[in-house]
């Protein structure tokens, strides 16, 4: 496994010097201005296609048509230049923390996988991945982007725990921005399942 370190991509001295001197004269290596963003594209949800069967009575023509629509299921795909991040949101009913008995929880799981960066070792969470997770987490939590009180179903017994999974597919730089956008976009398309309470205990629907 240690031999893998031989494959880490390193910048040469010449390249480092070139980038630095270019920056001091306000030129970036891909021709952008210092404050210019790369092209951002966000795809929400998932394109779903289904075979629908339409029958015309008069002419007895059976038409099979592919109908496609947008299913909102809490997933998003963000591309910022060459950086590619996917976010998935799922919810589960759990018992709340004792000191926050009527608030739901939000947690972020991000794994900086081998797909994005060939030097990463699987199974071990690198420092950067943990930091990235914490940045996205603090951003969403402290700005109160998610109203945790509305995630409560039964105070003290059942609350929704929202888990956001961020999959880094391609590391083309600026993962912090791309991950934040992906997390927010996935949250926007997520619809919490309906549940109703019945009887003495809570019954979920």
């Amino acid at each position: 496994m240690d031999l893998r370190l031989a494959n880490m991509w390193r910048l040469t001295m010449n390249e480092k010097k070139f980038i630095k001197t270019a920056l001091t004269s306000g030129i970036r290596i891909d021709g952008r201005n210092p404050y210019e963003y790369r092209k951002l594209s966000i795809k929400f949800g998932r394109q779903v296609s289904a075979f629908s069967y339409i029958e015309e009575r008069d002419t007895h023509i059976h038409v099979h048509k592919w109908v496609s629509w947008f299913r909102e299921d809490g997933s998003s795909e963000v591309q910022l230049g060459q950086t590619h991040v996917m976010g998935f949101v799922t919810g589960q009913l759990v018992q709340p923390y004792r000191d926050q008995a009527n608030e739901g929880t939000l947690s972020i799981y991000t794994e900086f996988s081998l797909m994005a960066n060939p030097s990463f070792e699987p199974g071990r969470l690198g420092e950067f991945a943990v930091e990235l997770g914490r940045i996205v987490d603090r951003g969403l939590r402290e700005s109160r982007a998610v109203d945790t009180e509305s995630l409560c179903v039964l105070a003290g017994k059942l609350v929704w725990a929202i888990l956001i999974d961020l999959h880094i597919l391609d590391n083309g730089g600026n993962l912090v921005d791309a991950a934040n956008i992906a997390a927010l976009a996935a949250l926007l398309t997520y619809r919490r399942p309906e549940c109703s309470l019945g009887g003495e205990d809570g019954l979920e629907v």
Binding site: M1, R4, A6, R46, H64, M86, M115, N171
Partner: protein
């Protein structure tokens, strides 16, 4: 026997296939394969120097990382990794680059039935995209058999759960060659009649299993065509001028 499938397909019909290559920039090869709603993204890195401790250093080794859509990696994912690794080991030429590791990363984007076959197809397409030498390609298909003995191909998740048993079958792809017929025969039978991998879940009788095999093999010809067409469109210009 006529069967009503939820989405109106007949028992031998596959869902619409879509394949796109070279979608990731850092990976050496990448491909996304979708069958209906099931979508899988595969990335290949390799070959890299060194092998793990318990691998044979005289051959290239293959490492597979399966990443589920949500949640942590558990036992089912490990099983998929092992199956995929064995399948890929039999199609890659392992003696070309000894003491190297080729890594495959499979990311599940959405699972709606026939997940493992979709992943195997995606991994093959990513291998071609990376330019790693192989003996032949593999096409994978899922067949289910129900109580009354009929079998259907390419089930959705609901169909998979309702069926008594299902099998994932991986066949070598059909050969399109300019050589005369006799050269690709293995022990007197054309190579397409072989089978690379078979994973079964549930109980099915021997006759049902062979029935599924036949249906699967017939459908694998269609899959091979689709794979060939989608990969050929990625090739540069006119190959006859090359070299």
């Amino acid at each position: 026997m006529e069967v009503d499938r939820a989405d109106g397909r007949n028992p031998n019909q596959l869902r619409p296939l879509a394949c796109s290559c070279s979608i990731l920039h850092r990976a050496h090869g990448s491909a996304s394969w979708s069958q209906g709603d099931t979508k899988v993204l595969a990335a290949v890195y390799g070959p890299k120097a060194g092998t793990k401790k318990n691998e044979n250093p005289e051959k290239a080794s293959i490492e597979v990382i399966w990443k589920p859509r949500t949640g942590q990696i558990g036992k089912p994912e490990k099983e998929y990794e092992i199956i995929l690794k064995r399948t890929l080991q039999s199609i890659c030429i392992l003696t070309i680059n000894p003491n190297t590791t080729t890594s495959f990363i499979i990311q599940v984007v959405h699972d709606d039935g026939a997940l493992l076959p979709c992943a195997i197809n995606a991994a093959c397409a990513a291998l071609v995209d990376a330019g790693i030498p192989m003996k032949h390609l593999a096409v994978a298909i899922c067949c289910c058999s129900a109580e009354s003995g009929y079998c259907i191909l390419d089930p959705t998740k609901l169909e998979e759960q309702k069926m008594k048993a299902f099998a994932y079958l991986v066949f070598p792809n059909s050969i399109l060659s300019v050589l005369p017929e006799g050269s690709s025969l293995v022990q007197g039978e054309p190579m397409e009649h072989g089978i690379i991998t078979s994973v079964t879940h549930g109980a099915m009788s021997v006759d049902d299993y062979f029935h599924c095999l036949e249906r699967g093999r017939a459908a694998s010809a269609k899959l091979s065509d689709f794979l060939r067409r989608s990969l050929q469109s990625k090739l540069p210009g006119d190959l006859s001028k090359a070299g």
